[in-house]
């Protein structure tokens, strides 16, 4: 394994280089082959590593070369393969491969075809580096690199002002989180004298450090995770990121990159477990985000925005799980979510493709018979997201709720359950508005509705199968394959928290039934409102108009930021520009010039230009020197 894991990130990077350099003039319309083959290679190698790492007690660390070597600051360029990295590699390369294939059909004919595949490959490289990194600095590198690719790809249609603005917004909001993350990495080095996972975790386990330091490290790391994983209050960039092409939304802003924050917290599980206060913050923020984003999701009209808020909400669930120390379950939900959310996004992309670019659900309806393959796969994804037995989302979401219950956090459990209800409601609201009822599009669009090409349908079907079956990997209790697979990674953290393996009790079954019933209720309500009594949504909207307006406008978070943070920094910058830059900086420069000008004006008359005046000076000088030499 040591001799090939470096190839996993390298293959997409080579594909990126070749595609970017030769794409425009030479490869052009066949730009998809190389990236797809590279992803296939990465996937194969990840699979091999996954099989080999099974049951290994210690992580495999490969030091490729020494990256930094300055005094005691030693950072190797090292890759670490353990069970967690293996799962993440499989998710990234597997889902990535399917989305690359899908993109071949979806992006067909775009002028930036090669550019799209080049940056998707660069993203795959960055993300695989992120999950394979053996120390925090390389993780940070991958972290920033995925952010950069996210920026490129959100602004892929750079001629659209909204897309360019969304790219910038994503980048800037992420900067806030990454600032904390960067400080966290520095604090780790100052505290532990190393950045290697193995070294850091060993020292934390030994327990020689003050809790305050650990809490500070954990919270700073979590700040980075909040930015990348779009947790409240840094969630604002993710819905806007939907300006990017749909495959980008599916791969980067649903399945992989946004889960980097979850990965970071899970990777640092030992640190978080040693800082219970920080863990509580993680759980609280996650829970709040889960319900907050779900509520916003109810009122969105744009099919991709619904899914975007759903992603934010599901990421909240993952942090909820991390907050109660259910590390493996969070990773499990990450994995199932990657399947069904990628499926939902790609399905939504297929709908948008069929509708000729229309994203407003008010202008859809009745598509069930027209694009059946998309319909069936999308419903599979929706069932998985809602958490209906036996789809993937049922197992993972139910595990999370069960874990919160077992941990005694009943409030979190209750909020999570309500969020699950809302999730089921808005998911099926989306399905019913899109596929049921009367067609609401204009005649011209209706005539052109067509099923997507095979390259788009095949990934949908594969993902739908995944959404159906992936859940069985993580059955609750001792049966869960994924839990026992990840056990070597999380055992130290569980040990610190005092969590023991739990066996299924009667309460677990009750909780399962309750959560499925709640989800069913949400679906039925959606059906009632959007299929049966279609006048109801407008009626309810009128009845609670102020509430509806607040939710429809996403609780005015963007407006709040515009009025406070943005306004403050714009006004502050303007004040500094007018007062500091123009008056002090420019004043100092101009003042210096003025001073020398005045000084020059004073002594300038000495320079008469007459040779005899100079001669007089010379002779006087000579006379003085001679006098001094002779008489002194």
């Amino acid at each position: 394994m040591e001799n090939y894991i470096w190839l996993i990130p390298l293959l997409p990077f080579l594909a990126f280089l070749v595609t970017l350099l030769f794409g425009k003039w030479w490869i052009k319309e066949s730009a998809h082959w190389l990236p797809i083959l590279a992803m296939l290679g990465s996937f194969g190698l990840s699979l091999a590593a996954f099989i080999q790492i099974r049951g290994a007690e210690e992580p495999v660390v490969v030091e490729l070369w020494r990256w930094f070597s300055v005094g005691s600051f030693q950072v190797p360029m090292s890759l670490q393969m353990d069970q967690l990295s293996a799962v993440m590699c499989l998710v990234v390369s597997g889902i990535g491969l399917l989305i690359f294939i899908y993109s071949k059909g979806y992006m067909h004919g775009d002028t930036g075809y090669y550019r799209f595949f080049a940056f998707m490959s660069l993203f795959a490289f960055s993300m695989l580096t992120l999950v394979l990194a053996g120390n925090y600095l390389l993780l940070y590198f991958g972290w920033e690199a995925v952010g950069l690719c996210s920026y490129y790809l959100i602004g892929f249609f750079y001629h659209k002002p909204e897309a360019a603005a969304a790219g910038k917004k994503a980048f800037i909001v992420n900067r806030i989180g990454d600032f904390g993350f960067g400080l966290g990495v520095m604090l780790i080095f100052v505290t532990f004298g190393t950045l290697d996972y193995v070294g850091v975790f060993e020292q934390v386990e030994a327990g020689a450090f003050g809790e305050a330091t650990l809490i500070a490290i954990a919270l700073l790391l979590f700040m980075g995770a909040m930015g990348k994983s779009a947790q409240f209050p840094l969630h604002v960039w993710l819905p806007d990121a939907m300006e990017g092409p749909t495959p980008v939304s599916a791969l980067i802003h649903a399945a992989t990159m946004v889960t980097a924050g979850v990965y970071l917290v899970a990777r640092s599980a030992v640190i978080f477990a040693s800082a219970p206060a920080a863990l509580l913050v993680v759980g609280a923020i996650g829970t709040f985000t889960a319900i907050f984003a779900a509520i916003i999701g109810i009122c969105q009209k744009d099919i991709k925005k619904v899914l975007a808020y759903s992603t934010v909400s599901q990421l909240g669930y993952m942090f909820m799980a991390l907050g109660v120390g259910a590390w493996a379950i969070a990773i499990f939900h990450l994995m199932t979510h990657a399947f069904f959310k990628a499926l939902l996004f790609l399905g939504a992309g297929s709908v948008i493709h069929a509708m000729g670019g229309e994203q407003d659900m008010d202008k859809m309806g009745g598509l069930r018979k027209r694009i059946p393959a998309t319909y069936y796969t999308l419903v599979a994804g929706a069932l998985a997201l809602s958490g209906i037995f036996p789809f993937a989302g049922f197992w993972s979401k139910d595990d999370i709720l069960g874990a919160t219950w077992r941990d005694g956090k009943y409030l979190i459990w209750a909020v999570g359950l309500i969020a699950a209800f809302i999730t089921a409601f808005y998911t099926f609201r989306m399905i019913f508005m899109t596929f049921f009822g009367k067609p609401r599009m204009d005649k011209e669009t209706e005539k052109h509705i067509h099923e997507s090409p095979w390259s788009m349908i095949v990934p949908l079907v594969v993902l739908a199968i995944g959404a159906l079956l992936a859940g069985f990997l993580g059955m609750p209790g001792k049966l869960g394959a994924i839990q026992s697979f990840l056990d070597p990674v999380f055992a130290p953290a569980d040990h610190i928290l005092g969590i023991h393996e739990h066996t299924l009790a009667a309460i677990d079954y009750v909780l399962m039934v309750v959560s499925v019933l709640v989800a069913m209720l949400g679906i039925v309500l959606a059906w009632f409102m959007y299929v049966r009594r279609t006048y109801l949504p407008a009626f309810v909207g009128r009845k609670v108009r102020p509430v509806y307006k607040v939710v429809y406008n996403k609780f005015y978070v963007d407006e709040f930021y515009a009025a406070t943070v943005v306004r403050l920094s714009v006004d502050g910058s303007r004040w500094l520009w007018k007062n500091f830059d123009e008056k002090i900086i420019d004043g100092a420069v101009n003042g210096t010039a003025w001073l020398w000008q005045r000084a020059g004006a004073v002594v300038r008359p000495l320079q008469t230009g007459r040779v005899q005046n100079y001669l007089l000076g010379i002779f006087i000088g000579l006379f003085v020197i001679a006098t001094v030499v002779v008489f002194v």
Binding site: P605, L606, T608, G609, R610, V611, Q612, L615
Partner: protein, 108 residues
């Protein structure tokens, strides 16, 4: 006072008086006259004042290096006169005058 190693028919002091007088005349001419030619003449006076000084001390110290130096000074004075006169000619062609107080374009 260093004792002269040989008897000098004219004491060294006289050379110095003559030299100083000539030098003062040169300096005065240099500083007061405005005509470039007269200034060049004054310059020659100063150089020759120095030469007399050198010759006088050369005899006084029984050292021929001083007289060697005089030959050099005369050669350079000749070269300087050639260059100086050429400049004066060029200046006159340009400005139709040799009054140096009119040449003040280098003033600050």
């Amino acid at each position: 006072m260093i004792e002269p190693p040989v008897e000098m028919p004219i004491p060294v002091d006289w050379y110095l008086y003559l030299s100083a007088a000539l030098f003062i005349v040169g300096v005065a001419g240099m500083l007061t006259r405005r005509n470039l030619f007269i200034m060049l003449f004054s310059l020659e006076l100063m150089l020759n004042a120095v030469n007399i000084n050198l010759v006088g001390f050369s005899r006084f110290h029984e050292n021929l290096v001083g007289q060697n130096l005089v030959i050099f000074v005369m050669a350079i004075a000749a070269a300087e006169a050639a260059v100086g006169l050429a400049i004066a000619t060029a200046l006159y062609r340009n400005r139709k005058t040799l009054m140096v107080d009119l040449f003040d374009r280098m003033k600050g």
